[in-house]
Symmetry: C2
Subunit: 324 residues, 2 copies
């Protein structure tokens, strides 16, 4: 739905660990104020409907759809695919399939979200979809990192596909010709690491369209060493959470140290700025918001989804994969 130059985002308003209706509603309000060309279809329960009404958002900027069914984080894939017909997550993804929305946003479980997205939207060129996030790489600079957990474990051929997907996404998002691609490893030397990362390296190096700049170690993840950091879903998820864990130790300091910590924190590390991972590789745009995201973070995910849709990122990725 891009009538009148508007972009419509379909929001699953039910997912997440501690999503309360007021937070979701105020995130919708914030995002629509921030982006004048953004419309939101919100799927959720009666409480969310009431919360949205209390926010006095202009009625031509959002639409509520009653979808009270929630899919548990660890629901079995088989049941996710065949059931939950009236769930907010399923209806948000179907809205993308049916062109009622340009992108779906959900804070629900990664497992169900990936499973339903693949099932409803299909995948591009039989690739294995991956979760890809913008991570900080210095003031005003970003890298893309994938996979962050769409797959419990991925092999070297999957990682080769992640390099293609990440490279295509980076080109589309940052208007660059040859983004620097690296693979996360335990060392930078060629003989370091597991057989899997070495095989992935060989595959990536065999394609001259990929600008491979070598292995990167996790301590250099946030150092602008590369534009695209490729890893398997297990390692990527652990690496990003370990980073979050340390950041929160700093931020959860007590008393005077907490005060200094807030003054010390580089602005570009504010974690809520980076909410909203794309599910790359499915034939439609799906953005995952952090399960424990606060209202600012949900608003950021909505705006991020809006921008990605405005860039036609899925079409751009399809075109790039044809060339690769």
């Amino acid at each position: 739905m891009r009538t009148d130059n508007y972009i419509t985002v379909a929001l699953d308003g039910t997912g997440g660990d501690n999503v309360d209706p007021q937070s979701v509603a105020s995130a919708v309000r914030f995002a629509t104020v921030f982006e004048p060309k953004l419309k939101v279809i919100v799927y959720g329960d009666k409480k969310l409907q009431t919360a949205l009404e209390s926010q006095k958002i202009s009625p031509d900027r959002y639409q509520f759809e009653y979808a009270p069914v929630v899919i548990a984080q660890d629901e079995e894939p088989r049941k996710v695919i065949s059931g939950f017909l009236n769930s907010a997550m399923r209806l948000a993804i179907e809205a993308v399939k049916d062109k009622k929305a340009s992108v779906a946003v959900s804070s629900g479980g990664t497992g169900p979200l990936v499973c339903l997205s693949r099932h409803i939207l299909g995948v591009i060129d039989s690739v294995r979809p991956a979760l890809c996030a913008k991570i900080p790489a210095g003031p005003g600079r970003y890298s893309l990192m994938l996979d962050l957990g769409a797959n419990a474990l991925s092999g070297s051929e999957d990682m080769y596909e992640f390099a293609l997907l990440g490279s295509a996404a980076y080109k589309s998002m940052f208007n660059t010709d040859r983004p620097r691609v690296s693979i996360l490893n335990v060392g930078t030397e060629r003989n370091k690491g597991s057989a899997k990362v070495k095989e992935a390296r060989d595959l990536v190096e065999s394609n001259s369209k990929i600008n491979f700049v070598g292995f990167v170690e996790a301590n250099n993840m946030f150092c602008d060493y590369a534009d695209v950091i490729v890893t398997d879903g297990f390692t990527g998820n652990v690496a990003l959470k370990a980073a979050e864990g340390v950041a929160s130790v700093f931020l959860n300091a007590h008393g005077i140290k907490k005060f200094f910590s807030m003054l010390a924190r580089p602005d570009w590390l504010e974690p809520w700025q980076y909410n909203g991972s794309m599910l790359l590789g499915v034939d439609g745009l799906v953005v995952k918001s952090h399960a424990s995201a606060g209202k600012e973070a949900v608003a950021v995910a909505l705006v991020q989804a809006y921008k990605l849709a405005r860039q036609n990122i899925v079409e751009n990725i399809k075109n790039e994969l044809k060339k690769a």
Copy 2:
């Protein structure tokens, strides 16, 4: 060598990315001042000998052995085993084998160090050796984490052995009966993660002597969630380096932010306090110091090695493994 209640540490004075002789020499001085019952045999080149002499350390507290050969970080295992007879790393480990020292300390490459230690000292009960570090878990609290990269990748049975080794080491180091053991995973639910971590979980749970408390996510690594955190060598290395990476972003802030950052940093996060990983599972005590460790960190590794030797940790681990 434990004559007169002294503990002797054999130090490879050559390894590391930026180990300069003055740093090594002043680390030796600092450690011998800090621990009055510590003696050091230092293996290295003429420059190191000169640096040591300039430190005016009491001659009954250290001994210099000329061993100028350095083993490169990424030297081939085959060559490491058969060659480098006069290398500081090899001679330090041989000193442990020959009971001239109770423990060897090296800042050299992980690959050569693990390879030579296994070759010279042998392994206990055919286990797969793992690098194990004390990581911060709050003020005055520590967890042990392993493997941190002794193995490029480890399977579920290896991870079961790491649980036994870590548990035995924790008992010896902290005098606890039933240390809490967890496995690093992408979620805490039983159905989350790779087949490997689930198999490792099943193996660990099948042994009632191990006090398994479930999966832990990387954002809770430093939260005292468990006493022992088990992971494969690839994931563990990435997780710890990602954590270091974020910490250094905070610490490398510029200008006024750097000042606030120093005030904000919790004391118990000072990274040099945690230098010195044990290589568990070999039949002799070997401690790896961080390759880019400064002089404080090398001194901490020497003191850490001294304390581990004083506790007879290798004998304790052997006894524990017999019971398991």
